[in-house]
Symmetry: C2
Subunit: 326 residues, 2 copies
């Protein structure tokens, strides 16, 4: 545990009154859980939190408390008055997208993150690469600042931890992760309902689409690399109401002998823009591969958005993955 970082963040928080909080674009459970739980802590301390994200919340997280307090970036917010910027679950300030425009030179930045690729961009940094999630760090911050948790914040932190550990099965799960989950469950959390809301709320037509997409999975390098391409036309005129990438990646990971899985999605909005996500069984550092293309993440999970044609990007990335196999 990064005790020094915790103390420094606690001290910095005590100095200020009005806080701007933000997370990365395309926020998921840990980003949302950690920023809302931190906003709860700030309110308990009599402070004013303002949450601004570039992207709206995915539907599956709308059951969470206080999500209506999250503002979506718009240029008018440039006039926003605040004393301290807190960035969560971001390896770099640019991961917040357009929200990074709201940063001012004379305002201190607190950086709370658990990614190995974190650039220590804050004036105060609480970076703990051994923590399962940013949410686990917020739990420690509650303890550090001796602020009692309430049921809503316990739920938010639980969701952050559960989603970022793939329901306690990824290698970032530690004994502390489980004992924290035990403490959080004492607030009467209904884990079945939580899981159902996040992972089991896909409309039947989308389940059928998912099934169609999954039939496109291919293996190369004697089955050591699995990849899947999703062309924009497959998702056109479809409002996808769930984390499609997460479901596809989980499915591909079930293949025996696969060391790296790679998902390539053609961006719907911007032409010739490809988002790729990589997952590794631990034998290949996929953070390095994503970094080579300008992205980042963890050793076992990384991603990147780059310009190019779907097939070209796929060929280049797969080539580099194969080169990284032992």
């Amino acid at each position: 545990m990064n005790k020094i970082g915790l103390k420094k963040v606690a001290a910095e928080i005590r100095k200020h009154k009005k806080f701007l909080l933000s997370v990365h674009t395309s926020p998921e459970g840990d980003a949302i859980g950690s920023e809302l739980a931190l906003a709860g802590l700030l309110k308990r301390l009599g402070k004013i939190p303002i949450i601004v994200n570039e992207d709206p919340l995915p539907d599956e997280y709308k059951f969470l408390p206080r999500t209506e307090t999250i503002k979506i970036y718009n240029p008018n917010l440039r006039k926003l008055d605040y004393d301290c910027l807190i960035v969560l679950d971001c390896s770099d300030l640019n991961r917040t997208g357009k929200v990074s425009c709201l940063k001012r030179d004379n305002i201190p930045v607190i950086n709370i993150d658990h990614h190995i690729s974190n650039s220590r961009f804050g004036d105060v940094n609480l970076v703990d690469t051994k923590a399962s999630s940013a949410s686990e760090l917020i739990y420690e911050l509650y303890r550090q600042m001796k602020v009692p948790l309430d049921r809503n914040c316990a739920l938010l932190i639980y969701v952050g931890i559960m989603t970022d550990t793939g329901s306690f099965r990824y290698s970032n799960t530690t004994p502390l992760t489980h004992s924290t989950a035990a403490e959080l469950m004492h607030f009467g959390l209904d884990v079945r309902m939580i899981y159902r809301n996040i992972y089991e709320s896909i409309p039947f037509v989308d389940v059928q689409l998912l099934n169609k997409i999954l039939s496109r999975v291919r293996c190369v390098a004697s089955g050591r690399v699995a990849w899947l391409e999703v062309p924009a036309k497959m998702l056109e005129h479809r409002k996808i109401s769930f984390d499609l990438s997460d479901h596809i990646l989980s499915f591909m990971r079930t293949i025996k002998g696969v060391q790296v899985v790679a998902l390539f999605r053609e961006n719907l909005g911007t032409r010739n823009e490809i988002r790729f996500n990589l997952r590794s069984n631990g034998s290949v550092d996929v953070n390095k591969i994503a970094c080579a293309f300008g992205g980042g993440g963890h050793k076992a999970a990384s991603g990147c958005t780059i310009k190019g044609r779907l097939q070209d990007v796929r060929r280049k990335v797969i080539e580099r993955i194969i080169g990284a196999l032992d």
Copy 2:
């Protein structure tokens, strides 16, 4: 926690020397984990455990320690000499299949289980329907008998708990489940490797078959019931090396608005024999439905094997499920 049951089982174990241990047919993680971990406890007490199951271990559990000590039932075992029979994870003695033939009238039976449908068939019963799994009960038995755990037994108990709670997401997950998992992880368990061995070791050809099967899912009752039929011919000449049912059921559960999912599989060996498995989101007691056909389980997960043609069985069971919707 069933403290009285724990004490009684501990006292009964201390009385005897040679134990026959068994679990239900088609054993999964909790059955295997709990019987092997109990055998470890008995050995630490200087006793002799003999494990006999009707069915062999599924491939995905072969990475577990001491699995080679599990004997498969054969008629010669009728001469087996033992002083006490311990049945784990079975609602009824008949769930052990042919192993129930090895029971003798003058030999005491210890029944360790967590199913709501348990018939209290033992001379001594440790039944705790609030426990996540039989393995969680074995963990409590180690504590009760003050036998220190070792890494192998921690791994076995962890696997039982993890698989029976669907990786800590089903409603049988309690704060105690998580604090037990935290204790077990202190033995240096590699949760990523464990999960990979059990759920992510499906040969690519089988992943393709799974995808084909999943395209057969259908919804009825305004999307409140999802069902899927697997005719024997789909699996003919295929050695399925993973828990096909578990993967299919998990996939079906992702559909929004579904209250009950039902999987019907035509038995490969015996003609006109159908195995069906039901899962509920909690609004329908699927234990009752399975019981009506001679099966059993929990409120949220049950199963049954019956004679009949695939389509006939499916129609009858679906009709009863629809009747049970509110």
